[in-house]
Amino acid sequence: MKKIIKNPLALAGLIIILLIAILALFASYLSPYDPNYIDIQSILVSPNKQHIMGTDALGRDVFSRMLHGAQISLLVGIVAVGISTLIGIVLGSIAGFYRGITDTLIMRLVDVMLSIPSFFLILAVIAFLTPSIWNIMIVIGLTSWMGVTRLVRAEFLSLKERDFILAAETIGASDLRIILTHLLPNSLGPIIVSTVLGVASAVLIESGLSFLGLGVQAPTASWGNILTDGKEYIQFAWWLSLFPGLAILITVLGYNLLGEGLRDNFDQNT
């Protein structure tokens, strides 16, 4: 932790993440308006005292939508990464611990998944499941676990050669126990790093999906769909794309800076 504080970029990342998390958490209290309140008398009003970020094409307050959008975007990011990390840890542990044919099968599955474009998987699954916030999280999660699997496996492979694991094996500790008490805790660093970086990617994926019309559905606000709505008016209603664009930029940057800071930190420890 001390090292994070010493690294100004990582510290900035941490502060950004915390700030945005607080904004998202208290969105309902901070929003001056109902994010879905339509006012067709004030369509596309530029930022002013009443609407500090202006209004959108249906006269909804952009600031309130941005706050609620933060909730959705972060939720999508965190849940999706939660799912992918969980799958990655389980499969990576099995592959790295048992080696042999299990390892081969899992790693070939990783290869298979990597060779099918994730957008295609997402499109097909969303078409099948019909889009909802939860389905989008699940889909992003189910299509991005391969990196974590490789990572956990690689960590296990190098850890398994270490003396303390060999010692644990000789005293007859159960496989599960070795994995849970020795291997996983010692691979935690890289996993945390990849999780933090994963949230950043998921937020970006959500905005890309929104561009293609596959993201979070109306009228729910997410940064991705506010930005996509705004792109039509980029030369005219600049506020509609500037704020969500910057919000995504800052958030993704925050997670990346923190992730990279953590990586540096763990690298120095090992």
């Binding site: 070939r108 298979v112 990597l114 295609f120 490789r150 030369q235």
Partner: protein, 339 residues
């Protein structure tokens, strides 16, 4: 080593079948087929005629039968023709009896995407090596921090937003660069040199946008690799021997730090043929991304399967090359590679 190689190559066959089977089923998971698109809500188009189309394309058969038919064709390297009404060949041009040539879909889209991706990868690697090296030498000092910040901003900025901003400021407000497309009007009448310059001008923005998001990964990889090696004994020895600092960095460190990049390069091979739908739509570039996306939306199965098959062959080859390079280079790279 040879045995390992052989094993890996043999593994590719069941994997390809696996990938194609999974893709085939996923594709059919999404409801609809080619007939449900353009004419689905045209009151002049009757359901009987759509049913007729479905029979012509074997879409009325069970999925497994359809897969079998597809596999049989693909085994003969026949990628078939698109279901779209132009019926163009998926892969390569075909000649009709009068010698007219119908160009293949992938044949037309791939060179464009390849050109953009090769330019992008070349730029990403060269810029990243420079940035990464500077960052490593000035580790934790201001240049390092600035570079880190810059590459992350590049990664974090939503590409389509930046693209539209750049198009507006450089193409509309100040007409320095073309906005979209690959060629200007009147391209055919230009001299080869002006044609080349014209095309380059059209590629600046798309390549810039796709470079930006890729810089972070590679430059930090170079930076971390350099730092790791700079801390190692033989560099320390070299320094102790009083070798001139720059020489140490360039000859010893860089060489060692760049070896693992070959692995990354191998992993980029499948990415070479994949274009970004979003960038291609915005910049009106007829590349692989848009081709694939449209095919998925249209449920143009032969095109979807054709692109996926070629993509997966390249991915598997790329993985193989990466793994070989991985084994051949430094075993310590593992951790970095997994990112």
């Amino acid at each position: 080593m040879l045995k390992y190689l052989l094993k890996r190559i043999l593994w590719m066959i069941p994997m390809l079948i696996g990938i194609s089977l999974i893709s085939f089923f996923i594709m059919h998971l999404a409801p609809g087929d080619i007939t449900s698109n353009e004419s689905a809500f045209n009151p002049k188009a009757s359901e009987e005629s759509r049913q007729k189309l479905r029979e012509m394309y074997n879409l009325d058969k069970p999925i497994l039968v359809q897969y079998g038919l597809w596999l049989k064709r693909i085994a003969k390297l026949d990628f078939g023709n698109s279901f779209a009404s132009h019926q163009r060949p998926v892969l390569w041009q075909e000649k009709d009896k009068n010698g007219n040539i119908k160009p293949g879909l992938i044949q037309k889209a791939l060179p464009i995407t390849l050109l953009i991706n090769l330019l992008t990868i070349f730029l990403i690697f060269s810029i990243s090596i420079v940035l990464g090296t500077i960052a490593a030498i000035r580790k934790n000092k201001i240049p390092d921090r600035l570079i880190t910040l810059f590459v992350f901003v590049g990664f974090a900025i939503p590409g389509f937003w930046l693209a539209l901003l750049l198009m507006y400021s450089l193409g509309v407000s100040n007409q320095i660069l073309p906005i979209s497309g690959l060629h200007s009007i009147g391209y055919e009448q230009m001299s080869p040199i002006t044609q080349f310059i014209d095309m380059l001008k059209h590629l600046i923005l798309p390549v810039f946008i796709s470079c930006l998001s890729g810089l972070a990964g590679i430059s930090l990889y170079v930076r971390n690799g350099m730092i790791e090696i700079l801390n190692q004994d033989f560099i320390k020895t070299a320094r102790a021997k009083g070798l001139y600092e720059k020489k140490v960095i360039f000859v010893h460190t860089l060489k060692n730090a760049l070896l693992p990049l070959i692995t990354i390069l191998g992993l980029s091979i499948p990415g070479l043929i994949g274009g970004s739908v979003i960038a291609e739509s915005i910049f009106a570039i007829p590349g692989m991304g848009k081709l694939f996306y449209d095919a998925v939306l249209m449920r143009d199965f032969p095109v979807v399967m054709g692109i996926l098959t070629i993509g997966s062959i390249l991915t598997l080859l790329g993985n193989l090359i990466a793994d070989l390079a991985y084994a051949w280079a430094d075993p310590r790279i593992r951790r970095g590679l997994s990112k």
